[in-house]
Amino acid sequence: MVGSTRRGQRGSIMLVTASSLVLLIGMLGLSADVGRVYIAKHEAQDFADLAAIASCRLLDGKQTGIDAAKNELATSAITNKWDFSTQTFGTAIRTIEFSSTQNGPWVTTPTSVAGPKPYAGVAFVRVTVTPTVNLAFLPVAGTALTQQVTGQAVAGVTPQVFPSGGYLPFTPFAHDKNDPTGNFGFTVGEEYGIHWPGNINNQTKACAGDRANWPMYNVSDTVNGSTRGYFELQSAAAIRDAILGQAQTDALAVGDMINLTNGNKQTEASALTELAGYDTDQTNYSPTPGTAPAYSGDGFRLVVLPVNDETIISGQVKVIGFAAFLLYPSYNGGAGNSAWCAIYMGSRTEGGGTGNPYTGGGSYVVRLMQ
């Protein structure tokens, strides 16, 4: 009697343990398998984000840009892996698609149009990776043997939105049009002339950053008239409107040719001063090469200018990029012999590839959309 009871108790403990085996293995499965799936998901998403940005910045409207984007995806897959950095995102589990809008439709091979930029509208890239994780424990609880995870990201080249929009009718000459940094040979924090008198025969009339690069003015001296720096617009009223309303109506793109114009107009100096006066930050920063001013205003003084290639052909120069300049709080244009300076704040094709800017119009930035 006593013995049989003991036997029963013995059996019940083993029975409970045995029956909870499924639960225990399920728990192991949860911690190990679900953990691995989540890590794979994390790695896949990180890869997609990274590859989308990396390939999107190479789009240039041509077949070369599409090919470069595809190559960049393959390059990204060499180092960036999944499953604890051991498995490659191979060609079978990665796709790159293109579109002209953020929301698709997505195609692996975009349709070309006639012209020098057959893929001009293609500005968005979607990268999808779908690694499959092998499960070790969860199948005991009745799940499938594998679990597929997806990482997907969309990156796009979108118009840069400037605080006040548009650009001013001045075009600085690049100091080095082949500058690999994309800074046009300018140094952040240094001041450069956005408008300058002709016949400068001593460098003291130039802005600090231009003194070291004197030959630039010799190039610009081939423009007729007494002062330089404007483009396209001729009448004082039109230039003034363009400055104050930032209403430059020409849609400018990298590669466009612009006409240089001339003239020294007092009203333009006061227009610049008036524009700068709107800003909440009125500090008169000193140019410090290498250090951008600690500007904290609301954007009225931060203006965008098209930079040209310093090669004048029939009075025209080519736009090679866009740059942000910080205006001083006041300008006096009274003396026709003084240059108007502004502090260089950086190129405005942020995140763009070197030498392959996307050409659609205006200035652009590469962004992660999703």
Binding site: L28, L50, I53, N80, K81, T181, T291
Partner: protein, 149 residues
């Protein structure tokens, strides 16, 4: 009692296993996130280098390492790492330079954890050269001339 001891042993192993796996996964996931944050920062940070140099600027490397370990490029005081026992010495930052172009601009940046001991009480796992991420360098760089950039 013997049966209970046997079962208890089995149960203890199982629970320890669950903890071990779960904690390891959790930390690895955190590391992946930290490396990602560091890589994103590194790809957009400014590189100030000497002309022709193909060495990473020390200040740049340190800033990236701080982002990985502390989540901010310039932590103040004695900061607490985001992940237990992670130090900046465990993070490798490596820029790839384009030696064919003038000024040798940076092209890619690789961020990785060179060695991290994942201490999950029962067993210590050492992660070597993982997680790792490599991304194109898309920030600005400048050549140092004299004391300024």
């Amino acid at each position: 009692m013997i049966e209970f001891a046997l079962s208890a042993m089995f149960l203890t192993y199982s629970f320890t296993g669950v903890f071990q796996f779960g904690y390891s996964m959790y930390i690895y996931n955190q590391l992946q996130g930290a490396v990602r944050a560091g890589t994103r920062y590194a790809s957009l940070a400014t590189v100030a280098k000497a002309a022709g140099s193909t060495n990473d600027p020390v200040s740049y490397d340190n800033a990236v390492k701080n982002v990985v370990v502390y989540g901010t490029p310039s932590p103040s005081g004695s900061p607490t790492p985001v992940i237990p026992n992670l130090t900046t010495a465990m993070v490798d930052v490596n820029l790839t330079f384009d030696t064919a172009s003038t000024g040798n601009p940076p092209t890619y940046v690789t961020v990785k954890i060179n060695s991290y001991s994942l201490d999950a009480v029962v067993k210590t796992i050492t992660l070597t050269n993982k997680p790792v991420m490599k991304m194109p360098f898309m920030g600005k760089y400048c050549i140092i001339s004299g004391s300024a950039c």
